[in-house]
Amino acid sequence: MRTGEVFDFSHSLVPLEGAVDNKQPSPGEWAMMTGAAVALLGSFLDFDFEQSAWGQGLFPVATLIAIYCVAVGVVVALRRFAGVDLPDRLAGFGWNQLFLALGVFAAVMSLFWLIAAEEAGPGLFLSLAGSVAVAVGAFLTVREQSPGTVG
């Protein structure tokens, strides 16, 4: 990416020409799906105060991280593997925009939890890693599918 280049994230997951029948997930999509799985796993492990993200006092604030990541991972998997025909846009947002927003929000929440936590457990670190992977995957997907698009 050149300095100052702007990508248009508003485009939905429209495959590039010549890649219409390609069922193989792109690196960005792999990152999002893997990140979602990692964040989901992390939500069941020790998050803070020896409680999981589903535990008393943490649910559903800490659980939002896993929910966001899993939502992204499930939609990507449905579109890529199950061939589910979802609408191009949702509430005025392209899918890439939603993936990016959810990934970034999840990563920011994980980071803030890491600062807030008094006894951060492996679940929190996995949630952070997973949500960052989802956010990075969303960026990569945009770069793969809308290269050099000016917003």
Partner: protein
């Protein structure tokens, strides 16, 4: 001051963002404490003067900075509106491909979702700051929706 840019949606965001920020310094959680302990040697009686301790969204024991995040989001949204309307700052039309209307909608929804999550969470008693932040977060979403519906909103 550019009054043309202060649409109803922008006003709602400005007010809600300001309320959000102010409320974040008020009591987010309140917990009962033992308070002062009076021990009468002659009678052997112990008297607990029960008290209440409150934590703002910025307090160390109040979940800072996760409780502060909605307030930061609200303040950021209000700041963006204020910069455009009052300081005549020309912000880029899109940020990472998102229009400002979309950003306001996403950020407002995120703040409201987090506050709703705190509402559901099994936490200590909620304080006045929490309730004001919850209302303000809903205001942020309302403001963002109004902006979206306004013709050629800034």
């Amino acid at each position: 001051m550019n009054n043309a840019k202060l649409s109803p949606g922008n006003i709602v965001i400005l007010v809600a963002g300001a309320v959000m920020l102010v409320a974040s310094f008020l009591a987010f959680f309140t917990v009962e404490t033992i308070g002062d302990v009076d021990f009468d040697i002659e009678s052997g009686e112990i008297d607990f003067d029960g008290g209440e301790k409150s934590f703002s969204a910025w307090s160390d024991g109040g979940g800072f900075p996760i409780t502060t995040l909605p307030a930061l989001i609200g303040a950021g949204m209000a700041a963006a509106v204020a910069l455009t309307a009052f300081a005549k700052v020309n912000l880029p039309e899109r940020v990472l491909g998102f229009s400002w209307n979309q950003l306001h909608l996403l950020l407002g929804a995120q703040a409201a979702l987090m506050m709703l999550a705190f509402l559901i969470a099994d936490t200590p008693d909620k304080g006045i700051g929490f309730w004001l932040m919850l209302l303000a977060s809903i205001g942020l979403v309302v403001g963002a929706v109004l902006r979206e519906r306004e013709p050629a909103a800034a």
